[in-house]
């Protein structure tokens, strides 16, 4: 079967539990995403081409060859909160501190509804905080967000490397000259308004904010009542 117009999103899923990795992997595949799973925050950072203490575009860093990782664009990071060593929150901070990766949306999952924890993660830059069990509908809500960053990356490529070479996709984005992505972000906006109407851009952002605030509300509300206020199951009609 041919995957037609639907873009391929690549998601990096981080969880120390094998069960959770299998589960989230299947969910993401069902949501038509490509998935890479790792069992720790450290491995996630490695995969992203970051390592504790330095980044690949740090001039003082030993020149490693992260080419493989860079060619694989990551459109979303979804991580468990509670992990030994580096928690999901720690990973979130590291990603947001990295100029190469800070625009990758990060979603945190947890089986505990702790409002203070949720706020802290959102404040640190997490796009969403999902309470387990995570559902397909939750992931589908993330698609506009992933689309936005994917488009942004494509725009960056066009600016940084107008004549693409064979492998030059995300590699172009993290050239040493590119020290600060926000700097480029500011440069891009005027171009964007020429290419696409500003109203469209604003609409997308508003929709996202709408969805996001709905979800944020959802996770905090659920702390107030144990009942998830989803329709209780009355009887079944089908089996497998």
């Amino acid at each position: 079967m041919v995957m037609a117009a639907e873009p391929q999103f690549h998601v990096l899923a981080v969880d120390d539990s094998l069960f959770d990795r299998k589960f989230i992997e299947r969910l993401l595949q069902k949501a038509s995403c490509q998935v890479t799973t790792v069992d720790s925050g450290y491995k996630a950072l490695e995969f992203l081409g970051l390592r504790e203490g330095f980044e690949i575009n740090d001039p003082d860093a030993v020149s490693t060859s992260p080419v493989i990782h860079q060619e694989v664009e990551v459109n979303l990071i979804i991580t468990d909160y509670c992990m030994p060593g580096m928690t999901g929150y720690d990973l979130l901070k590291k990603v947001k501190e990295s100029s190469a990766c800070k625009n990758i949306p990060v979603v945190i999952m947890s089986s505990e509804n702790v409002p203070a924890r949720i706020s802290r993660c959102l404040e640190e830059g997490a796009e969403e905080f999902f309470l387990k069990p995570v559902r397909l509908a939750d992931l589908n809500k993330l698609k506009p967000l992933m689309m936005k960053t994917k488009l942004k990356n494509q725009k960056l490529e066009e600016i940084e490397a107008p004549s693409k070479d064979e492998s030059g996709t995300v590699a172009a984005v993290v050239e040493p000259e590119v020290k600060d992505l926000t700097e480029i972000g500011i440069k891009i906006l005027p171009l964007q308004s020429e290419v696409e109407p500003k109203q469209v851009h604003l609409q997308v952002v508003q929709q996202e904010e709408q969805t996001m605030s709905n979800n944020k509300r959802k996770s905090v509300e659920e702390g107030l009542s144990t009942d998830r206020s989803r329709p209780r199951f009355e009887g079944i009609t089908t089996a497998v």
């Binding site: 539990s17 094998l18 069960f19 959770d20 299998k22 589960f23 299947r26 969910l27 595949q29 069902k30 509670c82 947890s110 089986s111 505990e112 387990k132 069990p133 995570v134 559902r135 397909l136 989803r230 329709p231 209780r232 199951f233 009887g235 079944i236 089908t238 089996a239 497998v240």
Partner: protein
């Protein structure tokens, strides 16, 4: 004759599932789990529930060891194990197991050792009941597949 076999087995499966839903052993999340299974991942439910069994039993053994220790004081570790159990149980729709794990977790947050011991007993009981039910379900499924296979020879 063979057709009846498949239909009867399907009816048995439906009856078992209905019963489990009515008992609150399973909830709608189990249906969500079933929907994740398809041609590209035809044994997903079976596979992921077996991983759930493996991981849960490790956690339960660890919990028992922790609590049986006279000098026990690591309530935080109990909490971590239980978070894992709550998360995975809720992901497969094992509502009763999830709920008793939450109750157990509350006892651990209060550093209540007798409460924890009692909580563990209840979780073990509910877990084993669930496991037996799942095995029965898988067996019926297997039989149904076999019966259907014979009915539609390649």
């Amino acid at each position: 004759m063979l057709g009846l076999g498949v239909d009867r087995l399907q009816a048995d499966i439906n009856r078992l599932l209905t019963s489990l839903f009515h008992q609150g052993v399973l909830d709608e999340q189990f249906l969500q789990l079933q929907q994740l299974q398809d041609e590209t991942s035809p044994t997903f439910v079976y596979d992921v529930i077996n991983i759930y069994f493996d991981e849960s039993e490790k956690l339960l053994r660890s919990l028992r060891l922790l609590l049986m220790d006279r000098e026990f004081s690591d309530y935080k570790k109990i909490g971590l194990h239980l978070n894992q159990l709550v998360g995975s149980s809720s992901s497969i729709g094992a509502r009763r197991v999830r709920n008793v794990c939450v109750a157990f977790r509350s006892a651990s947050e209060l550093n209540n050792r007798p409460g924890c011991l009692r909580g563990l007993e209840i979780v073990e009981h509910e877990y084993h009941y669930l496991k037996n039910m799942m095995h029965e379900l898988f067996q019926l499924e297997q039989q149904r597949l076999l019966a259907a296979g014979v009915r539609y020879p390649m």
